[in-house]
Point group: C3
Chain length 291, copies 3
């Protein structure tokens, strides 16, 4: 039994194994059989994409899902997260996939309960399955991380993905730079260099766009000018190397972070990321139950 | 792979086949086996009845349902319907049953995506599985459509059912008339004749009541008098031919469209319609995947 | 086919059988096989714990769940409970687990429909599966009910559990007393005696705490002093017999009804109750379908 909380505390070898597993599952290697295991997805912050990707992974491995609705839950009656998880565990739920607004929500659970926790996003902290699917997508494309140039573009300071990916990609040997508006720079980010998208675009192997997290802050920019100033325009995309790829964690603000004509362009891997997300999560479930 | 969008663009022969299939399934013919197929029901307008009828049909054919909750979806973060469907398709959903407030919402999806779409109601447009279940119910009763007299009663202008049914029943050889208050007549409706329920009742084979769509318009009538003026009272029902049947798509406003004592009267097929709805939808799923 | 509405109208022998069944299921006796049966859980009042416990029981017996969402249901369009149940029954749902705010909501359904109804809590009336799981927990502990001293503590007047349990435990031979604040005494409660927790604690075999139903009444007490005045403090718990147990139906208001350090103390059976709830409900489903 393993938790899956963050890529930070995992050995690189294990991360490489998870990537290999995900790619094998995508190539139709038989999925692990987790039938007769009961799982629950506790999303205290909405995320259709991540939640349904987990549900698909769970169903493909034969798991039984106990559907939890945060909106109607006893959390609203003042129950703690611990009590909710302990309760569901008492009725037979054997694994919890949790997204929560609180940073490191999982610490209390892990120290007090003997049930695997999968972090599906904690506050402004980590989102390790998103990172893993990004790694799978990059590795599937390039077969290596070493010396790849990755430019992370946009709302760095509010993005779990930016933080997690910058750390793990650096560990894996890639070079990171950030092309981000001044008002969204993160002074605590110690790795990588700040640049502009115009400077970075022609050298980058991966143009990793972020979502403007408008629901997490007062909008600090003029939406009309954002694409032109900071986003991936067709003009900028035309300067990309032919082998380079475009990524975005979605949902996309069309014509804000990226010109909508580029979303399904040949160099975009945006929907491939979503496909890979299911296989990455199958690899994680396998790790949680079978390692 | 087929879409199922409207009865209008389907050959009569195919519609007859779907009716026959539904009746066979009801008679315990083995259901098609669609196990290992993943489907999602996207209801952007509430409809417990239609949604759960689809879910029952899906489960009876062995499909796996990925549950989508429109309320908590990224549509609320500004995502387009296209992006939502493309996303779910990317994670492995192979068919979409969609109800949406927008007329012809499906055109954009069909032209850009290679995944089957089943229309579960579009704006004030079509609701083809409701039409199909109505056809199944009529055909099961009479064994033919030819020369049947169908009177459609009530809120014609706001009713998807009225429009779809009037068209297809006309094509199938039935005679349509409308017994509708003046304020709900639809001047664009070219087929059928306007009448009063009192004039039509004694000749009708099918008394097809509609639901007053109060949530779609300011209420233009006095609820207390509606039944007496326009609805199916016991007095009016007593003039029906012994072989004639009563239909209503539900949910029913009891004692508004119909005297509540008639809802489960021997001539009512209202709950039979619901039962038939599941078999009609199994026929549609079979058509979508196996034709 | 049986309804399961209240313990009051059931023979003691049957209740003893249900308790035995639940304990057998917990000891890994094969569960009844109810696959290919369709069930729906209609919760018009939120209760994650009870709802998910039923869903777990349903899944463990192989049933298919048709998920009903009260929030988006036609009840909001003015449909009656009867029409909702009749509709779902028409589309193939074969059993209904219902929680409803209205006392004795089930009477109308039972008299008019031929489909099993399981009461998951009616207004201020009964909550028979909660009572059953409490009985299972007590019987598992003591092997008898005869002459056990049970003190029911707290919000008696608003508690379904208090009423149901007091009645059935009295029938089974236990002695009941109530340690409840004056403002929550129920003058209609004819059995048992009123006492204080301080007087009862040292003699009790079962200290059965209730939840302060704050959502059902204006809060009539000072939350800060409640534990000290009326709740289970560590001081009071230290006077319990070594063989005595602590129960609470949850969700718990920590440090209001009970000192939070006691929740998982050796004498607490609070989470055992939840575990037993699933097996109690499997016994009920078995009774509904197989007796």
């Amino acid at each position: 039994m393993n938790h899956f909380i963050s890529l930070e505390n995992l050995e690189l070898e294990l991360i490489r194994d998870l990537i290999d597993d995900a790619i094998s599952f995508k190539k139709k290697k038989a999925f692990p059989n987790l039938s007769n295991h009961y799982i629950s997805n506790l999303f205290f912050e909405n995320s259709t994409r991540t939640k349904l990707s987990f549900e698909m992974a769970e169903k493909k491995t034969g798991m039984e899902i106990i559907y939890f609705d945060a909106e109607s839950s006893s959390i609203k009656k003042g129950e703690t997260l611990y009590d909710t998880v302990k309760t569901l565990n008492s009725i037979g739920v054997e694994c919890f996939v949790i997204r929560h607004t609180q940073d490191r929500f999982y610490e209390d659970l892990i120290s007090r309960l003997n049930v695997p926790i999968v972090n599906a996003g904690d506050g402004c902290g980590d989102h390790p399955t998103q990172s893993l699917l990004d790694l799978v997508t990059i590795y599937e494309e390039f077969g290596t991380f070493k010396d790849l140039k990755v430019v992370i573009v946009g709302d760095v300071i509010h993005s779990r993905v930016a933080h997690s990916n910058a750390k793990i990609l650096t560990r894996l040997g890639a070079g990171i730079s950030f092309a981000t508006p001044e008002f969204w720079r993160d002074s605590n980010m110690t790795m990588g260099t700040y640049t502009s998208l115009d400077s970075a675009i022609s050298e980058a192997d991966v143009v990793m766009l972020l979502r403007n997290q408008n629901e997490r802050h007062a909008q600090q920019y003029n939406e009309k000018n954002f694409l032109e100033q900071y986003g991936l325009t067709k003009e900028r995309a035309s300067k990309m190397k032919p082998s380079a790829i475009i990524m975005h964690p979605a949902p996309i603000n069309r014509n804000v972070e990226i010109d909508e004509d580029l979303i399904e362009a040949p160099q975009s891997r945006i929907f491939t990321q979503m496909t890979n997300g299911v296989f990455a999560r199958i690899a994680v479930l396998n790790y949680v139950f079978n390692s």
